[in-house]
Each structure stands twice: as C-alpha cells, then as structure tokens.
C-alpha cells in the first residue's frame, strides 16, 4: 500500500478489493429456528447442556449484559472495522497476497495485533495471516 487508508479516523477502512460485498448468511433449509446452532453429534455433551445460556458467566464472560459487543471495549472503532474485514476474509477464503498485505498494513497502522505468516509453513503448510482475534486467514498464492 502506498499510503494510509482513506476515510480515517473514525470510519471503517475501505475494504480491499476482493473481500467486500459478502452476502448475509443464508439460513440452511430444514433446520430449526436457529440454524446456526445444533446439538453435538457425539454423546459427550448429552445431559450437560447449559439451558440458561449462562455458561459464559464468570471471569471469561465476554459478552456484556448491555448487549454490546465485547470487541467494543477491547478494540477501538478502527480496529473493530479491521477485524470485521478480517472475519469476512476468513469466511471467503480467497484472500490474495495483496489484500493480505493491505490488512497487515492497516493492522500495523491501527496497532491491532497481527502476523504475516504468508511465508511460513508452521501449520498445515498453508500461507496465512492473523489479524486481531481472527487467526489463520488463508492467503492464496496469487497477487
């Protein structure tokens, strides 16, 4: 990237080419009310389901009672916008090397934790980057 991203501070950074325009998730037909959550297929959790949803209470609870995202506290708006982009990129699994470098550059600029592991083969021999809490975003071998 030649310079700092446009539209900052305060606004989400413009998404790099190729990681924008993700359509909203499509519900899976035939599943119950909340298709995103299913019971496990193994027996380990049977009879041990936390029906209250309070399993996240205690020291590791990260979702505030006011409904705000925990990231709202942990990350500033620019970092949160960047993390959203990273999650989209992780989802689409088609991040180019150029887009990966853009995300790394933004992470450095916004002081968000990040790693460029596109040249590493330490985990499954897959080039990847890490942005904030989004770990292992695979990077294609194309610019």
């Amino acid at each position: 990237m030649d310079g700092p991203p446009i539209g900052l501070p305060g606004a989400p950074p413009p998404p790099p080419v190729g990681i924008s325009g993700i359509p909203p998730p499509i519900p899976t037909p035939g599943l119950p009310v909340d298709p995103s959550v299913v019971p496990p297929t193994n027996d380990a959790g049977k009879g041990n389901i936390d029906e209250t949803g309070d399993a996240l209470s205690g020291p590791m609870r990260s979702t505030p009672d006011d409904g705000s995202k925990p990231n709202d506290k942990k990350y500033d708006p620019d970092q949160s916008a960047l993390i959203d982009l990273a999650k989209e990129a992780e989802n689409k699994q088609n991040l180019t090397q150029n887009d990966a470098q853009t995300l790394i550059d933004w992470a450095n600029e916004y002081k968000a934790p990040a790693r460029d592991d596109t040249q590493k083969d330490h985990w499954g021999n897959v080039p990847h980057i890490h942005i904030g809490p989004v770990n292992h975003i695979p990077v294609k071998n194309t610019k």
Partner: protein, 114 residues
C-alpha cells in the same frame, strides 16, 4: 515440535502446543486450521504473562479447565475447524452458508448462545 498435547474426554479435540525452530510457540487443535501464536496472546484473556511460551501455556490451561469457550465449525456433517472464541455473537454473524456452529467447552459442556 509438539511440546504439549491433550485429548478431550470425548476424543474429538486434540489441543497442542508446538514450538518451531525459531522459538515460535503455537497453540491449536490438531488436524484443524485454526491456531494462534504466543505473541498474539500476550494481551489476551486477561493474561499477565510476559513471554510467548508462558502465554501459550496459560491459554492451554484455561482451555482444558473449561474457562474459554470453543467453537466447532461443521459443514456437511464434517468438522472443518475448531477454535477458541471470545465473541459468540460475532461467530454467529459470520457463519458461512451451510455451516453449523457448536459452542462448547473442552469438557464437552455445551454453550447456548443468547
């Protein structure tokens, strides 16, 4: 080189710590793509650790003590990834088409997202 390894009671998850030749410490679930690094964990999960190695080991311990929620990503009845999470609502926001997410702890105890 794997320096720590633990298999969940249900046999589904294998949590490992790897140390690379350049003294990088990695934490992840065997056979699945998600992993993280000690340097990324230093300021996470309320850790007071000052070294990459200690940070990874601290998170390893928190996971097997059921103190960190896990997400199992299932597509077409096949587990595709296992990762830790600190934001279940975000996990649901970015769910893939045809993906099913199971929120659980290491012990197998399920988490019902609100």
């Amino acid at each position: 080189m794997i320096i720590n390894k633990e298999v969940s009671q249900d046999g589904i998850l294998t949590l490992i710590i790897k140390r690379t030749d350049d003294a990088d410490y990695l934490l992840g679930f065997e056979n699945y793509p998600w992993h993280t690094h000690g340097d990324l964990l230093l300021n996470e999960y309320g850790l007071q650790e000052t070294s990459s190695e200690r940070a990874v080991k601290a998170v390893f311990t928190k996971i097997i003590e059921d103190k960190i929620p896990l997400v199992v990503s299932v597509i077409n009845n096949e587990v595709k990834d296992v990762r830790v999470t600190d934001d279940i609502s975000s996990e649901l926001k970015y769910i893939k088409p045809n993906e099913q997410l199971i929120f659980r702890y290491w012990s197998g105890k399920l988490i019902s997202p609100k």
